[in-house]
Symmetry: C2
Subunit: 184 residues, 2 copies
Amino acid sequence: MARSNKTEYALLGLLSLEPMSGYDMKSFIAQSIGFFWQESYGQIYPALKRLHAQKLVTRKVSGKAGRPDRHIYSLTAAGRKKLREWVGAKTEPERLRHELLLKLFFGPVVTPEIHKEQIEALLKHQLGRLEQFRQVEKGILKEYDDDDYYPYWYSTLRFGVLVTQARVDWCRETLARLKKIEKK
Amino acid sequence: MARSNKTEYALLGLLSLEPMSGYDMKSFIAQSIGFFWQESYGQIYPALKRLHAQKLVTRKVSGKAGRPDRHIYSLTAAGRKKLREWVGAKTEPERLRHELLLKLFFGPVVTPEIHKEQIEALLKHQLGRLEQFRQVEKGILKEYDDDDYYPYWYSTLRFGVLVTQARVDWCRETLARLKKIEKK
DNA sequence: GAGGACATGTAATGTGTTACATGATTAA
DNA sequence: TTAATCATGTAACACATTACATGTCCTC
Protein backbone atom coordinates (compact mmCIF):
# COMPACT_ATOMS: atom_id res chain seq x y z
CA MET A 1 0.00 0.00 0.00
CA ALA A 2 2.33 2.72 1.27
CA ARG A 3 1.25 6.14 -0.04
CA SER A 4 -2.00 5.21 -1.69
CA ASN A 5 -3.69 7.81 -3.78
CA LYS A 6 -7.34 7.48 -2.88
CA THR A 7 -8.54 9.32 -5.95
CA GLU A 8 -7.02 6.64 -8.15
CA TYR A 9 -8.77 3.88 -6.25
CA ALA A 10 -12.04 5.75 -6.40
CA LEU A 11 -11.74 5.97 -10.17
CA LEU A 12 -10.84 2.30 -10.50
CA GLY A 13 -13.93 1.56 -8.46
CA LEU A 14 -16.15 3.60 -10.74
CA LEU A 15 -14.75 1.76 -13.74
CA SER A 16 -15.64 -1.53 -12.07
CA LEU A 17 -19.27 -0.46 -12.42
CA GLU A 18 -18.97 0.36 -16.11
CA PRO A 19 -16.56 1.98 -18.59
CA MET A 20 -16.82 5.75 -18.56
CA SER A 21 -15.03 9.04 -19.17
CA GLY A 22 -13.62 11.52 -16.69
CA TYR A 23 -16.57 13.76 -17.35
CA ASP A 24 -18.97 10.91 -16.64
CA MET A 25 -17.19 10.17 -13.40
CA LYS A 26 -17.63 13.68 -12.10
CA SER A 27 -21.36 13.69 -12.71
CA PHE A 28 -21.83 10.11 -11.54
CA ILE A 29 -20.15 10.99 -8.25
CA ALA A 30 -22.32 14.07 -7.82
CA GLN A 31 -25.49 12.03 -8.24
CA SER A 32 -24.60 9.08 -6.06
CA ILE A 33 -21.73 9.18 -3.59
CA GLY A 34 -21.32 12.94 -3.46
CA PHE A 35 -22.41 13.12 0.17
CA PHE A 36 -19.42 11.09 1.33
CA TRP A 37 -16.94 11.41 -1.53
CA GLN A 38 -16.06 14.11 -4.04
CA GLU A 39 -13.54 14.60 -6.81
CA SER A 40 -12.69 17.58 -9.01
CA TYR A 41 -11.54 17.56 -12.63
CA GLY A 42 -8.18 18.77 -11.42
CA GLN A 43 -7.83 15.44 -9.65
CA ILE A 44 -9.63 13.18 -12.10
CA TYR A 45 -7.84 13.91 -15.36
CA PRO A 46 -4.26 13.63 -14.08
CA ALA A 47 -5.23 10.48 -12.14
CA LEU A 48 -6.67 8.85 -15.26
CA LYS A 49 -3.45 9.63 -17.09
CA ARG A 50 -1.42 7.93 -14.35
CA LEU A 51 -3.73 4.90 -14.30
CA HIS A 52 -3.39 4.58 -18.05
CA ALA A 53 0.40 4.81 -17.85
CA GLN A 54 0.36 1.97 -15.31
CA LYS A 55 -1.93 -0.08 -17.59
CA LEU A 56 -4.58 -0.36 -14.93
CA VAL A 57 -7.10 1.04 -17.42
CA THR A 58 -7.46 1.15 -21.19
CA ARG A 59 -8.61 4.15 -23.19
CA LYS A 60 -10.85 4.39 -26.22
CA VAL A 61 -11.57 7.65 -27.98
CA SER A 62 -15.08 8.06 -29.27
CA GLY A 63 -15.97 11.17 -31.21
CA LYS A 64 -19.39 12.50 -32.02
CA ALA A 65 -19.87 15.24 -34.56
CA GLY A 66 -19.86 18.70 -33.03
CA ARG A 67 -18.95 17.38 -29.59
CA PRO A 68 -15.50 17.14 -28.02
CA ASP A 69 -13.97 13.67 -28.09
CA ARG A 70 -14.85 11.42 -25.22
CA HIS A 71 -12.08 9.32 -23.66
CA ILE A 72 -13.76 6.19 -22.45
CA TYR A 73 -11.75 4.24 -19.89
CA SER A 74 -12.17 0.57 -18.96
CA LEU A 75 -10.68 -1.49 -16.17
CA THR A 76 -7.97 -4.01 -17.07
CA ALA A 77 -7.43 -7.27 -15.15
CA ALA A 78 -4.50 -5.62 -13.38
CA GLY A 79 -6.70 -2.68 -12.49
CA ARG A 80 -9.35 -4.92 -11.02
CA LYS A 81 -6.74 -6.73 -8.99
CA LYS A 82 -5.39 -3.46 -7.64
CA LEU A 83 -8.93 -2.39 -6.74
CA ARG A 84 -9.57 -5.61 -4.84
CA GLU A 85 -6.34 -5.23 -2.89
CA TRP A 86 -7.32 -1.74 -1.84
CA VAL A 87 -10.80 -2.79 -0.75
CA GLY A 88 -9.30 -5.52 1.42
CA ALA A 89 -6.56 -3.35 2.93
CA LYS A 90 -6.82 -1.71 6.34
CA THR A 91 -8.86 1.48 6.30
CA GLU A 92 -7.75 4.37 8.48
CA PRO A 93 -10.67 5.91 10.37
CA GLU A 94 -11.71 9.32 9.07
CA ARG A 95 -10.70 12.46 10.86
CA LEU A 96 -13.24 15.20 11.31
CA ARG A 97 -12.45 18.87 11.05
CA HIS A 98 -15.66 20.42 12.22
CA GLU A 99 -15.61 24.20 12.15
CA LEU A 100 -18.93 24.72 13.90
CA LEU A 101 -17.91 22.59 16.86
CA LEU A 102 -14.71 24.58 17.08
CA LYS A 103 -16.66 27.82 17.24
CA LEU A 104 -18.93 26.38 19.88
CA PHE A 105 -15.97 25.27 21.97
CA PHE A 106 -14.89 28.89 22.38
CA GLY A 107 -18.42 29.61 23.62
CA PRO A 108 -18.35 32.62 25.94
CA VAL A 109 -16.33 34.75 23.51
CA VAL A 110 -19.70 35.69 21.94
CA THR A 111 -23.32 35.65 23.12
CA PRO A 112 -25.34 32.41 23.15
CA GLU A 113 -27.59 34.04 20.55
CA ILE A 114 -24.81 33.86 17.98
CA HIS A 115 -24.20 30.19 18.62
CA LYS A 116 -27.94 29.58 18.33
CA GLU A 117 -27.97 31.16 14.88
CA GLN A 118 -25.09 28.96 13.80
CA ILE A 119 -26.77 25.80 15.00
CA GLU A 120 -30.14 26.72 13.57
CA ALA A 121 -28.52 27.13 10.17
CA LEU A 122 -26.88 23.74 10.51
CA LEU A 123 -30.13 22.14 11.64
CA LYS A 124 -31.93 23.51 8.62
CA HIS A 125 -29.24 22.17 6.35
CA GLN A 126 -29.30 18.71 7.93
CA LEU A 127 -33.09 18.50 7.75
CA GLY A 128 -32.87 19.26 4.05
CA ARG A 129 -30.37 16.47 3.56
CA LEU A 130 -32.45 14.05 5.55
CA GLU A 131 -35.39 14.75 3.27
CA GLN A 132 -33.18 14.15 0.22
CA PHE A 133 -32.01 10.83 1.63
CA ARG A 134 -35.61 9.76 2.17
CA GLN A 135 -36.39 10.56 -1.45
CA VAL A 136 -33.40 8.59 -2.70
CA GLU A 137 -34.38 5.71 -0.44
CA LYS A 138 -37.74 5.51 -2.19
CA GLY A 139 -36.13 5.65 -5.62
CA ILE A 140 -33.56 3.00 -4.87
CA LEU A 141 -36.21 0.60 -3.59
CA LYS A 142 -38.13 0.75 -6.83
CA GLU A 143 -35.27 0.68 -9.28
CA TYR A 144 -32.61 -1.61 -7.92
CA ASP A 145 -34.48 -3.98 -5.66
CA ASP A 146 -32.98 -7.16 -7.03
CA ASP A 147 -29.60 -5.87 -8.12
CA ASP A 148 -26.32 -7.23 -6.68
CA TYR A 149 -25.40 -3.71 -5.76
CA TYR A 150 -28.61 -3.01 -3.89
CA PRO A 151 -27.56 -3.96 -0.32
CA TYR A 152 -24.28 -2.08 -0.71
CA TRP A 153 -25.77 1.10 -2.09
CA TYR A 154 -28.58 0.94 0.40
CA SER A 155 -26.02 0.62 3.19
CA THR A 156 -24.18 3.77 2.18
CA LEU A 157 -27.49 5.58 2.09
CA ARG A 158 -28.37 4.30 5.54
CA PHE A 159 -25.11 5.75 6.80
CA GLY A 160 -26.27 9.13 5.59
CA VAL A 161 -29.66 8.74 7.21
CA LEU A 162 -28.41 7.56 10.60
CA VAL A 163 -25.56 10.04 10.95
CA THR A 164 -27.64 12.96 9.70
CA GLN A 165 -30.43 12.04 12.10
CA ALA A 166 -27.89 11.99 14.95
CA ARG A 167 -26.70 15.44 13.93
CA VAL A 168 -30.27 16.71 13.88
CA ASP A 169 -30.81 15.34 17.39
CA TRP A 170 -27.62 17.01 18.51
CA CYS A 171 -28.67 20.38 17.10
CA ARG A 172 -31.95 20.21 18.97
CA GLU A 173 -30.50 19.26 22.31
CA THR A 174 -27.76 21.88 21.94
CA LEU A 175 -30.30 24.60 21.12
CA ALA A 176 -32.16 23.66 24.29
CA ARG A 177 -28.95 23.92 26.29
CA LEU A 178 -28.20 27.35 24.85
CA LYS A 179 -31.65 28.59 25.81
CA LYS A 180 -30.91 27.74 29.41
CA ILE A 181 -27.77 29.88 29.34
CA GLU A 182 -29.71 32.83 28.01
CA LYS A 183 -32.21 32.67 30.86
CA LYS A 184 -29.52 33.04 33.52
CA MET B 1 -14.20 36.68 5.25
CA ALA B 2 -12.97 35.63 1.82
CA ARG B 3 -10.19 33.08 2.11
CA SER B 4 -10.17 32.52 5.84
CA ASN B 5 -7.42 30.44 7.28
CA LYS B 6 -9.12 28.21 9.82
CA THR B 7 -5.93 27.33 11.62
CA GLU B 8 -5.42 30.97 12.50
CA TYR B 9 -8.93 31.24 13.94
CA ALA B 10 -8.47 28.04 15.88
CA LEU B 11 -5.32 29.47 17.47
CA LEU B 12 -7.01 32.78 18.27
CA GLY B 13 -9.74 30.75 19.94
CA LEU B 14 -7.28 28.83 22.07
CA LEU B 15 -5.69 32.10 23.16
CA SER B 16 -9.13 33.35 24.21
CA LEU B 17 -9.06 30.60 26.84
CA GLU B 18 -5.62 31.55 28.17
CA PRO B 19 -2.20 32.70 26.92
CA MET B 20 -0.09 29.81 25.75
CA SER B 21 2.71 28.70 23.45
CA GLY B 22 2.55 26.80 20.16
CA TYR B 23 3.71 23.72 21.97
CA ASP B 24 0.95 24.11 24.55
CA MET B 25 -1.61 24.46 21.79
CA LYS B 26 -0.68 21.18 20.20
CA SER B 27 -1.04 19.24 23.44
CA PHE B 28 -4.16 21.13 24.51
CA ILE B 29 -5.82 20.22 21.23
CA ALA B 30 -4.86 16.58 21.58
CA GLN B 31 -6.44 16.39 25.02
CA SER B 32 -9.67 18.22 24.31
CA ILE B 33 -10.88 18.90 20.78
CA GLY B 34 -8.69 16.35 19.03
CA PHE B 35 -11.66 14.26 17.97
CA PHE B 36 -13.05 17.03 15.80
CA TRP B 37 -10.07 19.30 15.20
CA GLN B 38 -6.33 18.79 14.79
CA GLU B 39 -3.31 20.90 14.01
CA SER B 40 0.33 20.06 13.36
CA TYR B 41 3.40 22.09 14.27
CA GLY B 42 3.92 22.72 10.60
CA GLN B 43 0.67 24.68 10.66
CA ILE B 44 0.86 26.18 14.13
CA TYR B 45 4.24 27.91 14.10
CA PRO B 46 3.89 29.70 10.77
CA ALA B 47 0.33 30.70 11.70
CA LEU B 48 1.49 32.21 14.99
CA LYS B 49 4.08 34.19 13.10
CA ARG B 50 1.42 35.58 10.77
CA LEU B 51 -0.92 36.41 13.66
CA HIS B 52 1.90 38.24 15.39
CA ALA B 53 2.75 40.20 12.24
CA GLN B 54 -0.89 41.29 12.06
CA LYS B 55 -0.83 42.30 15.75
CA LEU B 56 -3.68 39.97 16.58
CA VAL B 57 -1.49 38.43 19.28
CA THR B 58 1.44 39.56 21.44
CA ARG B 59 4.49 37.45 22.24
CA LYS B 60 6.48 37.10 25.44
CA VAL B 61 9.59 34.98 25.67
CA SER B 62 10.05 33.13 28.92
CA GLY B 63 13.19 31.06 29.44
CA LYS B 64 13.81 28.42 32.03
CA ALA B 65 17.28 27.04 32.70
CA GLY B 66 18.09 23.98 30.62
CA ARG B 67 14.86 24.24 28.65
CA PRO B 68 14.26 25.85 25.26
CA ASP B 69 12.65 29.27 25.38
CA ARG B 70 8.88 29.32 25.46
CA HIS B 71 7.08 31.87 23.29
CA ILE B 72 3.92 32.72 25.14
CA TYR B 73 1.24 34.33 23.01
CA SER B 74 -1.72 36.40 24.21
CA LEU B 75 -4.76 37.73 22.40
CA THR B 76 -4.92 41.46 21.65
CA ALA B 77 -8.17 43.43 21.46
CA ALA B 78 -7.93 43.27 17.66
CA GLY B 79 -7.40 39.53 17.86
CA ARG B 80 -10.47 39.07 20.02
CA LYS B 81 -12.51 41.14 17.61
CA LYS B 82 -11.34 39.04 14.68
CA LEU B 83 -12.22 35.89 16.59
CA ARG B 84 -15.74 37.15 17.33
CA GLU B 85 -16.29 38.01 13.68
CA TRP B 86 -15.31 34.52 12.64
CA VAL B 87 -17.57 32.86 15.20
CA GLY B 88 -20.52 34.91 13.94
CA ALA B 89 -19.79 34.38 10.23
CA LYS B 90 -21.55 31.77 8.13
CA THR B 91 -20.12 28.28 8.56
CA GLU B 92 -19.88 26.03 5.53
CA PRO B 93 -21.11 22.53 6.30
CA GLU B 94 -18.36 19.92 6.51
CA ARG B 95 -17.66 17.57 3.67
CA LEU B 96 -17.02 13.96 4.42
CA ARG B 97 -14.49 11.85 2.58
CA HIS B 98 -15.25 8.42 3.90
CA GLU B 99 -12.98 5.74 2.50
CA LEU B 100 -14.82 2.78 4.00
CA LEU B 101 -18.14 3.84 2.50
CA LEU B 102 -16.42 4.18 -0.84
CA LYS B 103 -15.10 0.64 -0.60
CA LEU B 104 -18.53 -0.61 0.35
CA PHE B 105 -20.12 1.16 -2.58
CA PHE B 106 -18.10 -0.99 -4.98
CA GLY B 107 -19.45 -4.02 -3.13
CA PRO B 108 -19.52 -7.01 -5.49
CA VAL B 109 -15.92 -6.48 -6.60
CA VAL B 110 -14.91 -8.54 -3.53
CA THR B 111 -16.69 -11.07 -1.29
CA PRO B 112 -19.05 -9.91 1.46
CA GLU B 113 -16.60 -11.45 3.94
CA ILE B 114 -14.05 -8.76 3.13
CA HIS B 115 -16.54 -5.97 3.71
CA LYS B 116 -17.52 -7.61 6.98
CA GLU B 117 -13.93 -7.50 8.17
CA GLN B 118 -13.70 -3.84 7.28
CA ILE B 119 -16.84 -2.96 9.15
CA GLU B 120 -15.98 -5.07 12.16
CA ALA B 121 -12.70 -3.17 12.47
CA LEU B 122 -14.57 0.12 12.27
CA LEU B 123 -17.12 -1.03 14.82
CA LYS B 124 -14.38 -1.98 17.25
CA HIS B 125 -12.77 1.41 16.81
CA GLN B 126 -16.03 3.30 17.32
CA LEU B 127 -16.88 1.31 20.45
CA GLY B 128 -13.50 2.27 21.88
CA ARG B 129 -14.18 5.92 21.22
CA LEU B 130 -17.62 5.73 22.71
CA GLU B 131 -16.11 4.35 25.90
CA GLN B 132 -13.58 7.20 25.94
CA PHE B 133 -16.34 9.76 25.54
CA ARG B 134 -18.23 8.25 28.48
CA GLN B 135 -15.12 8.55 30.63
CA VAL B 136 -14.60 12.18 29.67
CA GLU B 137 -18.28 12.86 30.34
CA LYS B 138 -17.83 11.70 33.91
CA GLY B 139 -14.70 13.80 34.36
CA ILE B 140 -16.24 16.95 32.93
CA LEU B 141 -19.24 16.68 35.23
CA LYS B 142 -17.06 16.66 38.33
CA GLU B 143 -14.56 19.28 37.37
CA TYR B 144 -16.34 22.00 35.43
CA ASP B 145 -19.91 21.80 36.61
CA ASP B 146 -20.32 25.50 37.31
CA ASP B 147 -17.94 26.90 34.72
CA ASP B 148 -19.10 29.26 31.94
CA TYR B 149 -17.54 26.90 29.47
CA TYR B 150 -19.34 23.83 30.76
CA PRO B 151 -22.43 23.81 28.50
CA TYR B 152 -20.28 24.49 25.45
CA TRP B 153 -17.68 21.85 26.14
CA TYR B 154 -20.35 19.41 27.14
CA SER B 155 -22.14 20.08 23.85
CA THR B 156 -19.08 19.25 21.77
CA LEU B 157 -18.72 16.05 23.74
CA ARG B 158 -22.38 15.18 23.16
CA PHE B 159 -21.76 15.55 19.44
CA GLY B 160 -19.10 12.89 19.72
CA VAL B 161 -21.37 10.58 21.68
CA LEU B 162 -24.41 10.92 19.42
CA VAL B 163 -22.58 10.65 16.11
CA THR B 164 -20.40 7.78 17.28
CA GLN B 165 -23.44 5.94 18.57
CA ALA B 166 -25.11 6.40 15.18
CA ARG B 167 -22.04 4.99 13.47
CA VAL B 168 -22.07 2.01 15.81
CA ASP B 169 -25.72 1.38 14.98
CA TRP B 170 -24.90 1.63 11.30
CA CYS B 171 -22.08 -0.91 11.59
CA ARG B 172 -24.40 -3.39 13.26
CA GLU B 173 -27.22 -3.10 10.79
CA THR B 174 -24.79 -3.25 7.88
CA LEU B 175 -23.15 -6.40 9.25
CA ALA B 176 -26.60 -7.98 9.46
CA ARG B 177 -27.27 -7.02 5.85
CA LEU B 178 -23.98 -8.52 4.71
CA LYS B 179 -24.79 -11.78 6.48
CA LYS B 180 -27.94 -12.08 4.38
CA ILE B 181 -25.92 -11.78 1.19
CA GLU B 182 -23.61 -14.57 2.27
CA LYS B 183 -26.51 -16.93 2.86
CA LYS B 184 -27.74 -16.61 -0.68
C1' DG C 1 -27.29 36.69 -27.21
C1' DA C 2 -26.54 34.69 -22.75
C1' DG C 3 -25.86 30.79 -20.30
C1' DG C 4 -25.56 26.00 -19.62
C1' DA C 5 -24.21 21.26 -21.07
C1' DC C 6 -20.67 18.90 -23.23
C1' DA C 7 -15.55 17.66 -22.85
C1' DT C 8 -10.55 17.66 -21.69
C1' DG C 9 -6.90 19.41 -19.68
C1' DT C 10 -3.19 22.64 -17.08
C1' DA C 11 -1.74 26.16 -13.71
C1' DA C 12 -2.10 28.54 -9.63
C1' DT C 13 -3.09 28.37 -5.12
C1' DG C 14 -4.41 26.74 -0.71
C1' DT C 15 -3.82 23.72 2.97
C1' DG C 16 -2.16 19.83 5.51
C1' DT C 17 1.08 16.18 7.22
C1' DT C 18 5.61 14.31 7.84
C1' DA C 19 10.44 14.55 7.98
C1' DC C 20 14.28 17.01 9.24
C1' DA C 21 17.26 19.98 12.28
C1' DT C 22 18.75 21.17 16.97
C1' DG C 23 19.70 20.03 21.71
C1' DA C 24 19.17 19.63 26.90
C1' DT C 25 16.78 17.14 30.71
C1' DT C 26 14.57 13.34 32.83
C1' DA C 27 12.59 8.93 33.60
C1' DA C 28 12.56 3.83 32.56
C1' DT D 1 21.36 3.84 27.19
C1' DT D 2 17.33 4.52 25.07
C1' DA D 3 13.40 6.98 24.63
C1' DA D 4 10.29 10.52 25.91
C1' DT D 5 9.37 15.34 27.02
C1' DC D 6 10.31 19.89 26.30
C1' DA D 7 10.44 23.54 22.46
C1' DT D 8 10.74 26.00 18.02
C1' DG D 9 11.03 26.12 13.49
C1' DT D 10 11.77 24.95 8.15
C1' DA D 11 11.53 22.06 4.03
C1' DA D 12 9.63 18.60 1.34
C1' DC D 13 5.86 16.44 -0.11
C1' DA D 14 0.96 15.16 -0.71
C1' DC D 15 -3.43 16.30 -1.87
C1' DA D 16 -7.52 19.30 -3.23
C1' DT D 17 -10.04 23.15 -5.11
C1' DT D 18 -10.55 26.87 -8.23
C1' DA D 19 -9.43 29.45 -12.12
C1' DC D 20 -8.06 29.45 -16.63
C1' DA D 21 -8.01 27.90 -21.59
C1' DT D 22 -10.62 26.24 -25.62
C1' DG D 23 -14.71 25.64 -28.44
C1' DT D 24 -19.44 23.80 -30.15
C1' DC D 25 -24.22 22.96 -29.69
C1' DC D 26 -28.63 23.77 -27.71
C1' DT D 27 -32.11 26.08 -25.06
C1' DC D 28 -34.37 30.24 -23.11
